[in-house]
């Protein structure tokens, strides 16, 4: 057989790994900063770009797409070339992929603190960046599939199945969730409204976890774990069944983020049962990983890389068991909106993603630098400090979640809430928040050790940019062996593999989303619900800009404890029909502050005015930061920018919001009138001096509108549907 000589590209691997370490450190530090802001709200220094609502998105985007993303690409470029016995198809595409991705990250790091956001979780970036992501993602996909096509290995290894599924699914998710109508270069509105937007968002959001933080990482596990342990993969059959089951079932599970919400019950139930069915396929990955270490446990004691992998895979098993449990309605009723969810997520990210990446870096960097790791001891210290960090992060948050949820739901026997003041349930958690910040600090200390170790390792060696390799070319004709496993057929047909992965992941999404969008009866309309006024719409955009939805939900669930707390007068939970003009929805996923969906009319304008200026003036001990930049004060000009208002209204009309032509023609007059009436009301207070066109006025207009439409319909409020 003719041997062909070729070279692996190690430089691209190195680049992605270095980028992952750098951005990871930034993402971790931002995470620590926002954690500290929940203890010391004054840490925003009254600067908009340092405020929790904006930085939280920066943290999540940085750790998901920059830390895990870059590491995953590095790991894929390393393993893919070797598993296929081929160099990456195009160095140009590799470079476009690498530099394009870094530019996107830089763009995110600039725009998110500026408040340029679509508000949709893990998809906050505005439309021009969304397009850039799609293009770079396609460059990655084309590069990968071209490499697969010119491979010298007949069959595709399980890791590559996962890479392919990752590529097709993320492309589909990203494109459909990011469909938005641009208003300007930095502002767009989701084409979906309310319930539909929430469903599409969590179909995306959940599968960002599934197909960005799980399937590619499983692929990496299938390469790096057997390599590091030098053991055969435990079960090929298990790989097949858990791969197909996982990608088929995962896509359905999104609605478990919306249990007890205004989403139709049938969709909620699908979210629950598909999450429960996910336990076995997820655990298939875990046991295939852990059992591969059979006969190698003595090595685990010695190898720090394997230690990281074992904890990582165990964390994967824990969080993929916990996830389905959280999808059960009774557990979700306790956990949702509390700190339990961040705890769950961080077991996955710090444990499963982080530790797998650290193990991979410790294994891979010495290899491509032709040297050995600078210090095993230091890596071991990283392992223990990091593990401790995860525990300190997650355990207090479990306690916090439980504590807060029980306080929210606690009633006195006379029917009053035991903790009627929401703030009481927040200040209770501050010690837990402090412990969490300690956990995060430990994790970062571990990261610092990694940086030192990697820098010293790199200095002691030299990068082997082009690694020589040889393998025989594939013969054109190939007939399968007799008696081979049936699945071998598709493993040698990469395009069929890609196609069938696509089909399998489309089924769940189509069955859940299409009917919710097309069938009117899923979203019963409410006659009294009207579009926002121009001023309220601008106020809503300020709410989005400041990331208020990072801490405040807008979804009163059908629980006694919630209707009594949030809508004491009408005791009405949130209904699908209330959100029909909400492009995008702002339901939120975490209640660090109280729900706001029934906020309108609860307090006078002046309460909001004082509260946004200094929350502790109205709620002593509040953890909410000050929003002084919404006020024209101390020489600052906070005039409401209405240059886009007309365009915004017209965009809304295009999306189906029924503004009349007359309204659009007179929007400015209407806006001025409403702003003036609010300002006049405020100026009655001798301590307040406000101009109608200040941003705070628009925000107050929006807050005072929330949930008021439904109150105009007494019949509806009294007749529970």
């Amino acid at each position: 057989m003719q041997m062909e000589r070729f070279r692996y590209d190690n430089a691209i691997v190195r680049n992605f790994i270095v980028a992952s370490i750098l951005w990871g450190t930034v993402g971790f530090l931002v995470g620590l900063w926002v954690a500290l802001e929940l203890i010391f709200p004054q840490l925003n220094f009254e600067l908009p770009f340092l405020t929790f609502g904006r930085l939280r998105a920066l943290h999540t985007n940085a750790v998901i797409f920059a830390f895990v993303g870059n590491a995953m690409f590095g790991g894929i470029y390393y393993s893919l070339q070797r598993l296929l016995k081929a160099r990456m198809a195009s160095d140009l595409l590799s470079a476009i992929h690498f530099w394009g991705w870094q530019l996107i990250i830089v763009a995110a790091a600039i725009t998110l603190p500026m408040g340029i956001t679509s508000s949709k979780e893990y998809a906050e970036l505005e439309w021009p960046i969304d397009i850039a992501i799609a293009l770079v993602w396609v460059a990655f996909g084309v590069n990968m599939i071209s490499t697969i096509i010119k491979r010298r290995e007949r069959h595709l290894y399980v890791a590559i199945w996962f890479y392919i599924a990752t590529f097709v699914t993320v492309a589909v998710l990203h494109i459909f969730n990011s469909l938005e109508l641009p208003v300007s270069l930095f502002k767009s509105y989701s084409v979906y409204a309310g319930v539909q937007d929430a469903l599409v968002q969590w179909w995306y959001g959940h599968n960002a976890v599934a197909f960005f933080l799980t399937t590619p990482i499983l692929g990496l596990m299938y390469y790096f774990l057997p390599k590091a342990a030098n053991r055969p993969v435990y079960s090929y059959r298990l790989s097949i069944i858990h791969f197909w089951a996982l990608i088929f079932l995962y896509i359905w599970a999104g609605p478990h983020h919306l249990l007890y919400s205004a989403l139709p019950d049938w969709a909620q139930s699908l979210g629950t049962v598909f999450s429960v069915m996910l336990i076995a396929p997820s655990w298939g990955g875990m046991i295939n990983g852990l059992l591969t270490l059979r006969g190698a446990w003595d090595k685990v004691r010695e190898s720090v890389v394997l230690k990281f992998f074992v904890v990582s895979v165990t964390a994967y098993g824990m969080s993929t068991f916990e996830g389905p449990m959280l999808s059960l309605k009774n557990i979700n009723a306790i956990a949702h909106f509390t700190d339990w969810i961040p705890a769950h997520v961080h077991i996955g990210t710090l444990g499963w993603n982080g530790f797998l990446i650290f193990g991979m870096i410790y294994w891979l960097m010495p290899k491509i630098y032709r040297t050995s790791l600078f210090s095993d001891k230091m890596a071991n210290a990283h392992f223990w400090i990091g593990t401790l960090g995860i525990l300190f992060w997650a355990l207090p948050m479990y306690v916090a979640g439980f504590t807060q949820s029980l306080m929210w739901k606690d009633f006195n026997p006379d029917g009053t809430l035991a903790y009627g003041n929401f703030l009481e349930t927040v200040t209770q958690l501050i010690p837990m928040y402090a412990l969490r910040a300690l956990g995060g600090t430990l994790y970062i200390v571990g990261m610092v050790l990694l940086i030192i170790n990697v820098v010293r390792t790199v200095r002691s060696g030299e990068l082997l940019r082009e690694e020589e390799a040889e393998a025989p070319a594939l013969e054109r004709a190939y007939a399968g062996h007799k008696g081979e496993h049936w699945h071998r057929w598709i493993e040698r047909k990469p395009l069929q593999m890609t196609f069938w992965s696509l089909v399998v992941i489309l089924i769940g999404g189509i069955i859940e989303i299409v009917p919710t969008i097309l069938i009117k009866s899923n979203i019963p309309t409410i006659a009294s619900v009207k579009p926002y006024t121009a001023l309220e719409l601008e106020g809503r955009d300020i709410y989005i800009r400041e990331g208020c939805n990072a801490c405040h939900s807008q979804m009163v669930r059908p629980f006694r404890s919630e209707v009594v707390r949030y809508d004491p007068v009408h005791q009405q939970y949130s209904m699908a029909g209330e959100y029909v003009y909400d492009h995008p929805h702002l339901w939120g996923s975490k209640r660090t502050g109280p729900d706001l969906h029934r906020e309108g009319g609860k307090y006078p304008h002046s309460w909001h005015y004082n509260h946004m200026w200094d929350p502790t003036s109205m709620s002593p001990g509040s953890l909410m930061p000050r929003y002084t930049w919404l006020y024209s004060a101390n020489g600052r000009d906070a005039s409401l920018n209405t240059s886009l208002t007309e365009k915004k209204l017209k965009a809304m009309v295009q999306l189906g919001v029924p503004y009349t032509e007359e309204y659009i023609a007179n929007w400015e007059e209407e806006l001025n009138m409403q702003a003036k009436s609010i300002a006049d009301e405020l100026n009655k207070d001798p301590n307040i001096k406000v101009q109608p066109r200040e941003e705070i006025v628009a925000l107050i207009a929006y807050l005072q509108r929330l949930g008021t439409d439904i109150k105009k319909e007494p019949a509806l409020a009294l007749n529970q549907p």
Binding site: R237, L238, T272, L328, F559, Q571, L718, Q720
Partner: protein, 321 residues
């Protein structure tokens, strides 16, 4: 104790033996009740944290016993190996269970299941799917089918129905409680309190709920000054009580009747009236009319039960629970 006669124990067993999808029906917002209704056994069982703790506790005790046993065996192995009997020829129940549950090919015979795959040096074994895993998978599928049938065909309560049940239960239990305790102070029976204990309780309530709008010394912030004789919605215990109870939503005074009990509202209303005539640090200008109590001549402890004041706020109460 005879377990068979213990309803909780029986409920627990019924729960474990029956379909696990009943787990879903729980509404944690409903206060625990002692009786296990037909069909809601599991709900009631898991509603009680003591019972959950009991199950978890047993699990932990078993785990602890197992670990102690392992530790003792290990100790015996090192200290007195001669007392350990030679292993029996027949495999222990544990190893046969493990074998049956995992169907793993032992490492020594790994070559038998080694496939001819080789990816950059990675080989693959063809071990069977672990039966425990396969059965677990089947179980979750069966669970899902049962779940969908229960909720969407057999009519297990939906989220909204659960809510209605919870609200009705709550209403009944609150009414029962109020009957029992006699905590039925309302605007027709409320009287001004003067005893130090009740005023202190009112002060505490005021400080955690009212200072945001009315200031700690009653001087007023967003809300009106409470120290002057002017009242927007009427002074005196009855009107103050009513304003607290039903609120004046259009002016930003929220209704407190779901956050404070009637007695608590009476306490805080009485405390508010102690501000009268005091000199706050930064008084807000007077708002509303100077209020004159028609029954001012009478002793304050004997408040006018039949005080005829407007009752528009009552219409709100019907909208509520």
């Amino acid at each position: 104790m005879n377990h068979r006669n213990n309803p909780r124990f029986f409920a627990a067993w019924t729960a474990v033996m029956s379909s696990a999808s009943g787990l879903m029906a729980q509404t944690p917002t409903v206060p625990a009740t002692a009786t296990a209704e037909e069909g809601r056994w599991l709900v009631d069982f898991f509603k009680d944290p003591i019972q959950i703790g009991f199950v978890v506790g047993i699990g932990m005790v078993l785990l602890a016993l197992y670990s102690i046993n392992r530790a003792l065996n290990a100790l015996r192995e090192t200290l007195a190996p001669e007392t350990i009997k030679a292993p029996k020829a027949a495999p222990s129940w544990y190893s046969s269970l493990m074998k049956g549950a995992t169907k793993a090919t032992p490492i020594e015979r790994e070559a038998d299941v080694m496939l001819d795959h080789d990816y950059d040096g990675i080989k693959e074994l063809d071990n069977s799917l672990p039966p425990w895993w396969v059965w677990g998978f089947y179980f979750t599928i069966a669970f899902s089918v049962v779940y969908l049938i229960r909720y969407h065909i057999l009519g297990e309560p939906s989220s909204k129905k659960e809510f209605e049940i919870a609200m009705a239960d709550a209403k009944a239990s609150v009414e029962e409680y109020r009957k029992k305790v006699g905590d039925a102070v309302d605007e027709t029976t409320v009287v001004l309190l003067t005893e130090a204990g009740r005023i202190a309780s009112g002060k505490k309530i005021y400080e955690s709920n009212c200072v945001a709008c009315h200031a700690a010394d009653g001087g007023g912030l967003v809300g009106p000054n409470l120290t002057d004789p002017n009242w927007i919605h009427g002074g005196g215990i009855v009107n103050v009580f009513k304003t607290i109870k039903y609120g004046v939503p259009e002016k930003g005074m929220i209704s407190w009747k779901d956050q404070l009990s009637p007695t608590q509202m009476q306490d805080v209303a009485s405390y508010v009236l102690t501000f009268q005539g005091t000199a706050p640090a930064a008084p807000k200008a007077p708002e509303g009319e100077v209020w004159v109590d028609a029954a001012a001549a009478e002793p304050t402890t004997d408040a006018p039960a039949t005080d005829s004041t407007s009752t528009p706020a009552d219409s709100l109460s019907t909208a509520a629970l």
